[in-house]
């Protein structure tokens, strides 16, 4: 098993219509943009296919996982050795994060990764604020590659502040 296999599986889920779109978020997105940080799981924001009904269910994802021999472990699915958590987009901010994700290459596998400015904004949501996330915000704010104009616009649009 290799990390690229996990990423390939995400693309397969999209190709098979299990999810409409996805974007990696959380610590592993930070790793893509900046430097390695300790984490034990892969967080993925997803759009479920339209017509899935008003009540969001991950049943189709669990069904797909089972069909491919991936074990579910509470809220995670072990995809090619990587505990992966799927979160259907819960907000307009998350919608934008998915829509604007950048496609990066990982050993030949195109991988959709949330832009760093959206990572900061997602961490700044009141319900998401924890000490660890504040630390990650600080890390991203220190990063020279962060587009402050883009971040400011996102924060203003969604009523968030640093």
């Amino acid at each position: 098993m290799a990390f690229a296999d996990t990423l390939r599986a995400l693309n397969n889920m999209k190709a098979e219509g299990v999810i409409e779109e996805y974007a990696i978020v959380g610590a592993l997105a930070i790793v893509f943009w900046t430097e390695p940080v300790a984490t034990y799981d892969l967080d993925v924001l997803v759009f479920l296919p339209s017509g899935a009904g008003p009540l969001v269910s991950l049943e189709s994802i669990y069904h797909w996982a089972s069909a491919h021999g991936y074990q579910a472990d509470r809220e995670h699915i072990l995809i090619e050795g990587v505990p992966t958590q799927f979160l259907p987009s819960p907000s307009k901010l998350a919608d934008e994060a998915i829509e604007t994700a950048e496609t990066l290459d990982y050993q030949g596998v195109p991988t959709r990764v949330t832009l760093p400015e959206y990572l900061v904004a997602l961490y700044l949501q009141p319900e998401a604020r924890t000490a660890k996330r504040r630390e990650r915000v600080a890390m991203l704010l220190d990063w020279r590659g962060l587009n402050r104009n883009r971040l400011d616009a996102i924060l203003e649009r969604h009523g968030l502040s640093l």
Partner: protein
């Protein structure tokens, strides 16, 4: 590296501003070096961090079953 100076209260030796700035610069350079690593190398380092952190975390709290070092290739 011996650019210390006497400053502040009492006789405690303090590093000069230049010395502190040099340390910070070194830290920034280290971060920049890590930022431009190839992605597979970054993932290898994530797995290494997991292995280092795991025994410490197990002593601090009960871990979820998925909180363990990945047994994969980067």
């Amino acid at each position: 590296m011996g650019s210390h100076s006497e400053s502040g209260t009492g006789s405690r030796s303090r590093p000069s501003a230049e010395f502190v700035a040099k340390l910070r610069q070194g830290k920034d350079e280290l971060r920049r070096d890590r930022e431009v690593l190839p992605l597979p190398e970054k993932i290898r380092q994530v797995i290494e961090l997991q292995r280092l952190q795991y025994p410490l975390l197990t002593r601090q709290r009960t871990l979820a079953s998925w909180e363990r070092p990945w047994e994969i290739e980067p």
